[in-house]
Symmetry: D2
Subunit: 353 residues, 4 copies
């Protein structure tokens, strides 16, 4: 059993990490921190843990974090900057769910997150945590880890995960003429645990809205992953559900769809790309994904369709924003880094209803 720590365990992604790791056969929860709730039994805050033992939140400076094999940082951006270097210095591998180590360019970080990056050297060495698209960095981290080195993984964000998994195979195949348009819808867990007018039940319920058009912080991350600087128009929306993120990606085709084998040919391209990925399922022709089919799981469903007269490929992906979009993906990365099966502890299916 490897010792796992969670910094920021009281938030939504922290709680999801607790759920996944307490059931993981190869990790045990060693320290779960929350400054606001230090000393409080987890079960008294998070009743899903009622009767599951006496786990308590500890303070962020809990020295047991340094005893861990892996620490997961489920903290707001800029906070991870305080933890990652210190943990690495104590030989603890770090899986950062915040945005702090995602952007390779420290200037881009400063522009979008409003703070000068304090450990830019780690931006170079960090592996990017999106295993289906960047396996090499994670496998390299695994090799380094196996040799006793502590590694840092910058796990991809929720919108970037869903969007780029939908767009990447077509882009890599060179069949797309940018710019690409990404229209995505998230459930309210994506807005975090902070109670405000935006997350109030009565305002989120029975409503739909777009937000942060042209200025969402996931835009540069998506552009970096896809290698399309300034070529991505990304619009996030909020809808009244807890978990689920649907990304509808419009990919103008560089050639006539027929010359690409039509939707069958493009579907085969996606099937081939995700061959061997335990979590990504390219749905059959004419089938579009529903977020409910992956909620609570680490799975990704992708459906494809053509907008014929406009000669566009529309790739739609569905994920659970808290699981594959955050905590599940972090565990998936940890599995890879520690040499476990990629889906270890992550095989649960969604509920049908």
């Amino acid at each position: 059993m490897r010792k796992a720590g969670i910094v920021g365990a009281a938030g939504f992604t922290g709680a999801e990490l607790m759920r996944l790791l307490q059931a993981h056969p190869d990790f045990e929860l060693h320290a779960v921190t929350s400054d606001a709730l230090a000393g409080t039994p987890v079960a008294s805050v998070n009743p899903t843990f009622a009767g599951s033992g006496g786990l308590c939140f500890s303070a962020h400076d809990d020295a047991r974090l340094f005893e861990c094999d892996a620490v997961f940082l489920a903290v707001p951006h800029t906070v991870a900057l305080d933890f990652a270097p210190r943990l690495l210095a104590h030989a603890v591998s770090v899986f950062d769910l915040s945005a702090d180590y995602r952007l390779r360019d420290p200037d881009a970080y400063e522009k979008w997150y409003g703070k000068r990056h304090t450990s830019p050297e780690l931006l170079v060495s960090a592996a990017f945590g999106l295993p289906e698209l960047f396996p090499d960095g994670l496998l390299d981290a695994h090799r380094r880890c196996a040799q006793g080195e502590a590694v840092l993984v910058a796990c991809a964000g929720c919108y970037p995960t869903a969007s780029t998994l939908a767009a990447f195979p077509a882009l890599q195949a060179g069949i797309v003429r940018p710019p690409v348009i990404i229209d995505a819808i998230s459930g309210v867990t994506g807005a975090g645990k902070t109670a405000n007018e935006r997350t109030h039940f009565c305002f989120a319920n029975e409503s739909l809205e777009a937000y942060n058009i042209g200025k969402h912080r996931h835009t540069p991350e998506i552009e970096q992953i896809l290698g399309l600087p300034g070529q991505v128009a990304f619009t996030p929306h909020l809808a009244p559900l807890n978990r689920g993120l649907l990304a509808t990606v419009y990919l103008p085709l560089a050639h006539d769809a027929a010359s690409l084998g039509g939707i069958e040919g493009i579907g085969q391209l996606y099937q081939d790309f995700y061959e061997g990925s335990p979590f990504v399922e390219v749905l059959g022709q004419g089938v579009l994904p529903k977020t409910a089919s992956v909620a609570g799981s680490n799975r990704v469903h992708i459906g494809l369709a053509l907008q014929e007269p406009a000669n566009m490929l529309v790739a739609v992906s569905a994920i659970d924003n808290l699981c594959k979009g955050a905590s599940g993906q972090a565990v998936q990365c940890a599995n890879i880094v520690f040499g476990l099966a990629e889906d270890r502890g992550l095989a649960a299916l969604a509920c049908y209803v």
Copy 2:
């Protein structure tokens, strides 16, 4: 008091027409038909009418329809073909909420709706029921009606209403370089009253999905309204709420945004366009619409934003799909045709929560 009839009063748009017309100061419900429920008190099916008098559904062949000043057809497509010519022949003005008289081209109708149009001559004379964009046809219908002629109004569909109100001012101003992408999300009332797996609570709840990509029947209607044949990529989505339709329209700009006065200049263009429209509100800069703010009302909220590097205008509109997207719009059209104030009986605001 003008006599109003509703054919198909048991469905969602029929019930919404009943709600609006029973409270309308200038119309009275004279006949409300439902073949399946003929003879049944409305209140026993629709308990919002409990205690509101003894209104009963009658059969579709109820002769009282021919005594009406206005009949609203809240029927599935192809069914309106049976009613409109007969009602007009009896000097009854017809407000058709179905798709049967929307497309000017009878071949397009046959292609998309699978039936040869049986009264193509009415496609020429019908006024298109989207008052903010096509006031002239409705004013002409008003003049003809005032002279004793029965008129036919083909009311616009829900997705076309929201989408084209968001796109039209920019297109008319010549600042857009097509194609345009329309990404829209509807509540489940848009799927109609038929109970099936799609509309089952447990499948629609806590889920998001896209559907009918590249083949939704509202596509040709949107293209006709915008004058952009083959230049519209339209993707509808379903989200777990009852009422509400949000359209996010991507309009690539023909010129640099700055040369158009930036978002302020474009906002002013929209403000000017909708000056005098009692129902359309162009929100202030930086404000995006929420469907809850218009639910239960006939209002339209439009917000504007720029996707800067991609040089796109994103226009987002929110409507209540059953009200402004269907029944409210039909009543609005009837108000115009009968020379009443456009917002007569339609002034109610949405609930804040």
Copy 3:
């Protein structure tokens, strides 16, 4: 047009009062106050008012309140104590939606609300605002108002309204053997606009819970209305919807149900009791109410059933907690006090869906 003021207009019941009064043919909004939002346009906070003129929130000490004919207090308990005496002293009639003047006994007020009552003399003269059960006090207030006297109406709470309308006819008829059990479920608007973990979408959504068992502040109010001190067991629940309150009231019968004419006889008793009430509808035999059928309206639906072996009458009532349970009822009381038709401005029906 009578001038109306709202103190606490930014909350849920305040917003509902604004919605109702801006559409009321006999009232105009003269001052709407919110200390936190003084000077802010209503539309910038509450977008349902976008385009509805330049109404702004003013501070609680806005002197225009004293120019009003009626001021509605949509404030937390204990705050109304500050406003009611001063407004009355300025000859302004007051409709208090808070709990401050509901309990006749100042000691009970102190026990349940934790503050010594500062105007106990008004507890004697205040009319109780539940017109269907206490018409006499309101008619007396009308007479006093017609003679130029400012009056105070203590409007009933949401749970008491639904519960006692369901229980009262049977109790008054002497067919019940107390204690009575009231099991009620409310939508989340009942928890107010304050954003906290309880009202966070992700915690309220997809969950059910009971709360405040045996200690909810509406208990003494229900007992007072029903004249059953210590004989009411009241359990409120929270369910994931915005508006709606369902009260299921268990009334042990003093005699065999058959001797009371069975469910038909009891149903007739209820029908007779509510004869003439424009808002209360006793549903037909075997029909139980749904909150959706009254949401957004001032209506009350009551259904009746027997639990045969246990010889209990179960009376179920459905209301909209913000409308009939708060703001609509206050307007109904104002209508009566000012000699208007009881349903003036309140006739709108719920949406079918």
Copy 4:
């Protein structure tokens, strides 16, 4: 690995059984039947299974059912009568999720389910599947099973499970004076997969209702479990969520609460009763359960409160109606019958949000 079959695998409880059993370390799915979908890949109907292998539905007469160690009957009542005797005759143990073998009295079965029972002898030998209250019957079934005998377990219904787990400890301790009142609320999965007006999203959403008062078929089952014939008043309600069942049980106390040690004493009584149950958690004093805290899990949370003046204990329990209320409980029973740990394959916690 034991071979498991599911009859009626396309319904909600069938799908939940598939979810649980495909992840169960000691069972493998050998045959999953659905007459309507025979020959169809599971994944094409239930997309949570996309990419999970080629499992197909077979017809109800699939002979592979007779090769199973355990067959779970997830069929409507009266249908299980056709399957149980035949499977037992083939030495297959049967876990019946329907109501067909729950009532000991065949006359009661006929009265409530409208059909003469065709295998009343099995009513005597069937173990009742509610392990926390009736462990002996299941342990006896385990012994018989271990000796090669096929056994029948009649799994308890959803409302009876939640209600009786809340009521039983107090009743067994003799501190209750019947009748007891059970007021319960279920999510819409409890209404099953059939699409009708009741389960239509737009009718179930944003509404609350009571139904089947005094005539719900779970009433005699609850009375049988509690040993209180004619002493239970049970009212089920429907609320807009997928999974979750909350039962609020009113238990009039036979003695003064203080003489019972107050809520602490009664809480201890419940704690002692459920000592050793892996799934039941009696929450701390003042804590009431939320269904979300157990959704997707087999857990039961129980909270206790007093209604002091009325001298009633209120016991509130929360379960997932599809899991502990149906499929999870059936697997729990199978674990016991086959000598596995009671929580084998059932240890997953609910999601926090």
